[in-house]
């Protein structure tokens, strides 16, 4: 027992709360109104990884695992929709509002994975450094400006399409340096992404991959969409061009995938990378 808790001024209570793990913070917030108001003001917890696993196992449950700096090693599970809505999502909201999440992964391709991040409360912006997998557009709108550093999206257009143009203009993505994007299709041959990457001066090894059906889609289409670019190398299957950073170039490559499907790959490479090393350098 520590009977002097109520005699501590708020700033010293906050000094204590900053050492509490996530579970204890949630529970302290459940004791009374005063503490409930205090807990969100405490220094944010560092969550090293938050992995959401909403695969369609029995009854569409939600599971996630969390590893934090204050010793949390949680594997909560919410077995049905009612539990997810009443406890799962409020807990996720609490985590995102009271933590700096170094890595959020939501890798399942099921629609339910994206659903898990819909409708979360956000009185404070979410601070997430790396995101992998998928999330709905309104989730990104709740994220703090410039929070993302690494972005790794898969199957963005599989069911509920995200507008990549709008997404890349969101404040939360403006400091993202390393990107890995995979689309089913991309309406402008990835030109909007390429232009944004040049503007953000993203890191080498950033890649984007999308597919088109039909032989009529070529590298020329990409070059047209890009407008004025300073081309370094041009073949039927590849174009290499300069960026604003003289240490970096970009390439767009077209490869036959399967049947009549062609795979297009945009990549940021070092300006001094030799052609023979493309394959080994761009690891998709």
């Amino acid at each position: 027992m520590f009977e002097f808790w109520n005699s501590l001024p708020e700033e010293l209570k906050l000094e204590c709360i900053k050492w509490m793990d996530l579970k204890t913070r949630v529970r302290l917030g459940g004791t009374c109104h005063k503490e409930r108001l205090l807990v969100p003001r405490a220094e944010k917890l560092i969550v090293f990884s938050l992995h959401i696993d909403a695969v369609s196992f029995a009854n569409g449950a939600l599971r996630f695992s969390l590893d934090s700096s204050n010793g949390d090693d949680l594997w909560p599970e919410f077995k049905n929709e009612d539990q997810i809505q009443k406890a799962g999502k409020p807990l996720l909201s609490f985590i995102f509002q009271n933590s700096v999440v170094h890595e959020l992964s939501n890798l399942g391709t099921d629609d339910r994975n994206r659903e898990m991040l819909v409708g979360l409360k956000s009185s404070k912006p979410f601070d997430i450094r790396k995101i992998a997998g998928q999330a709905p557009f309104n989730f990104f709108q709740k994220c703090a400006p410039n929070c993302f550093r690494i972005v790794d999206f898969h199957n963005l257009c599989d069911s509920s399409p995200l507008s990549i143009e709008e997404l890349m203009e969101l404040p939360s993505f403006q400091a993202a340096k390393l990107w890995r994007l995979q689309f089913k299709e991309c309406h402008d041959f990835g030109a909007c992404v390429a232009k944004k990457w040049i503007q953000l001066d993203v890191d080498v090894k950033s890649t984007m991959e999308f597919r088109y059906v039909g032989e009529d889609r070529t590298i020329n289409d990409f070059v047209k969409e890009m407008g004025a670019i300073d081309i370094v190398e041009r073949t039927d299957i590849l174009v290499r061009f300069k960026t604003r950073n003289q240490k970096k170039h970009m390439t767009m490559r077209r490869m036959h995938w399967v049947n009549e499907t062609y795979l297009f790959t945009l990549a940021v490479i070092p300006a001094d990378l030799e052609e023979k090393n493309y394959e080994s350098y761009i690891d998709l």
Binding site: F4, W5, K18, W19, R27, L28, T31
Partner: protein, 201 residues
């Protein structure tokens, strides 16, 4: 290599520059005096700035009255200075947000803080007042650890917290107990503020 087998080297002691250590004298609010090394004082940002501003020489330290610390008692100050002496020379944690803070309570600190809650409470206050970052960290962490693994009901007992119902009842009682005239004055003041009058004067 054992101590017996270590090579013996003649040392001309006069040739070794002797670092003169300075010990400051502090006095608690119950008139207990402490001598604390210059290096230990560096753990406290408040005291460090104070002694720097005073610019005492070794003679001043001996001849002038001990520096009074008005709001900390001797028992607490003894713990504070024991901690500072033990941790002297250690880097003071800087909160730049770049790395997650992980603090383990060292054995020495755990023993030092094996004290009653009243004294722990005073120690937290003193660490905050004297701005001793790491002492504040470990003492607050000790209080945080008391909550580890507890349910909300258990937490209410650990920290003597009211329930929401008790909270509401206390708020109502406080409002009822308030002097009606004082309440009128407050309401009048709030009304004036709303109307743009900035004060009663």
């Amino acid at each position: 290599m054992s101590v017996e087998n270590a090579p013996v080297v003649d040392v001309d002691e006069a040739a070794i520059p002797v670092e003169k250590k300075m010990y400051y004298r502090f006095e608690s609010n119950d008139k207990k005096e402490f001598r604390v090394s210059e290096l230990a004082i560096q753990q406290s940002e408040t005291l460090n700035r104070l002694v720097e501003a005073m610019g005492y020489t070794s003679e001043d330290v001996e001849n002038k009255p001990a520096i009074a610390i008005e709001n900390i008692d001797g028992k607490t100050l003894k713990l504070v200075f024991q901690w500072c002496e033990h941790h002297k020379g250690e880097a003071i944690p800087v909160d730049d947000g770049s790395v997650p803070k992980i603090v383990e309570i060292p054995e020495f600190d755990a023993k030092l803080m094996d004290i009653d809650n009243g004294l722990l409470f005073k120690l937290i206050w003193a660490a905050d007042y004297l701005n001793i970052v790491q002492l504040l960290n470990v003492s607050c962490k000790k209080v945080a650890n008391m909550a580890q693994g507890k349910t909300p009901a258990q937490l209410r007992r650990v920290y003597l917290l009211p329930s929401d119902e008790e909270d509401e009842a206390a708020k109502r009682a406080a409002q009822e107990a308030q002097d009606p005239r004082a309440r009128e004055v407050e309401e009048e003041f709030e009304e004036r503020k709303r109307q743009g009058g900035n004060s009663f004067f």
